[in-house]
């Protein structure tokens, strides 16, 4: 290879490596801000500020969803392996919201330890299968909701 081209090759490589390091450090420094939501564990340890708008995300604890009979009021618990957060919401839930599935809520954590959400988003998983297969995997029983495989920080 011609020495001039070799030199230009080194300059191009240095450009890519140095700019990658610079942007990599920037993103690393901002890593806490890039997280979309706080997991329940952070609420349990008190690392989350109260009375400010933020997002929480976790697995909807099976059996924890309770709906008010006369309104759209609903409460449920978001859990992860080391935390729990009670959420109160009034409104229409997305179609994919279900017990045992992950959800992200947008709202305010008050002093009474309840998260008052004004938006609920369903986080669907990366599993895709036809209904027959899903049924066969549960031995024909009704879909058994679990939070066992819920991982948010893999």
């Amino acid at each position: 290879m011609h020495p001039v081209r070799k030199q230009r090759l080194l300059i191009v490589l240095a450009l890519v490596v140095l700019s990658s390091i610079a942007i990599g450090l920037l993103v690393f420094a901002l890593r806490e801000n890039i997280n979309l939501f706080y997991p329940p564990a952070k609420f349990s340890t008190g690392e989350v500020p109260r009375d400010v708008r933020l997002r929480a995300g976790g697995c909807v604890q099976p059996g924890s969803v309770s709906r008010d009979e006369n309104s759209l009021q609903v409460t449920f618990d978001l859990v992860d392996p080391s935390g729990r957060l009670t959420v109160s919401y009034e409104g229409i839930l997305p179609d994919l919201f279900a017990e045992g599935e992950a959800a992200v809520v947008n709202g305010i954590w008050r002093e009474d330890n309840i998260f008052y959400a004004d938006q609920v988003l369903a986080k669907h998983d990366e599993n895709y299968m036809p209904p027959e297969v899903a049924e066969a995997m549960n031995n024909g029983e009704k879909h058994q909701a679990t939070c066992d495989e819920a991982k948010y920080d893999s």
Binding site: V12, S19, N127, Y128, M129
Partner: protein, 252 residues
């Protein structure tokens, strides 16, 4: 010497004449693959147990996302080759890749938001992957615009190539964003190591769609580059000869 073949590759005229012959069979092939893949995915693949029919947009969304990332590398590498060897063709490929890549990134963002509404419950969320994908679109658009504002072609090409190279760090960030941060976007379903979490009856049409998108990307890139070659080489002898033979054909 050993590098002669490489310099021959850098000749716009050689590229134009070679691709003229390839296009006769490659264009129908890639269009056919795309039609078969999309029809299979959109009409014949089974519905998803949880998402129902709305998951089908994955057959348009996911391959477009793959190609917008792979296409970025292609554009940056073409820019790097142009900078190192000072050849004309790589810069033309780089400029064309910016147009095709910008279109694919826009398609990814649009189909993603159409998919997000029925499943997540929102058209847009400031999720890490969404943000970095939007930055990718802005990178592509900046390269297109940067290529147009410079009055001198060589300066424009150099500036575009440097911007393209600096932006490469965004691609691994997008790819790993769902693993690095708490995110609304689901993790990858197709895994190179280990078993994929998508059922084979849905996976095969998806893989076919990815192959079809790769072919269609190559086709679009070739067509764009040919147009770029004619525009930039308009004053050369071979292009004027080409125009003369073409116009005499149409007169007959």
């Amino acid at each position: 010497m050993a590098w002669q073949w490489f310099h021959k590759l850098g000749s716009p005229r050689w590229f134009y004449e070679k691709t003229s012959r390839w296009l006769t069979w490659f264009a129908p092939l890639s269009v056919a693959l795309l039609l078969v893949g999309l029809t299979w995915g959109l009409a014949f693949a089974p519905v998803d147990a949880k998402q129902g029919n709305s998951y089908r947009i994955i057959y348009i969304h996911m391959p477009a996302a793959v190609l917008s990332l792979a296409g970025y590398y292609l554009m940056a590498i073409a820019g790097g080759i142009g900078l190192i060897w000072k050849m004309k063709l790589p810069f033309m490929v780089m400029q064309s890749a910016a147009y095709v890549g910008a279109a694919l990134t826009a398609l990814t963002l649009i189909t993603g938001s159409l998919w997000g509404y029925p499943t997540w419950g929102t058209f847009w969320e400031w999720d890490a992957r969404n943000i970095f994908m939007l930055i990718l679109l802005f990178l592509y658009l900046s390269i297109i615009m940067l290529g147009r504002v410079y009055p001198v072609r060589e300066a424009a090409d150099k500036a575009c190539a440097i911007l393209a190279l600096v932006g490469t760090v965004n691609v691994p960030i997008i790819y790993k964003s769902v693993d690095w941060w708490y995110s609304l976007h689901q993790p990858a379903s197709i895994k190179l190591t280990g078993s994929s979490s998508i059922h084979p009856s849905m996976l095969y049409p998806l893989l076919l769609c990815i192959v079809a998108y790769y072919c269609f990307y190559t086709l679009s890139l070739i067509l764009y580059t040919r147009q770029e070659i004619l525009a930039r080489e308009a004053r050369t002898k071979w292009v004027s000869e080409l125009v003369n033979t073409q116009s005499s054909h149409t007169k007959d």
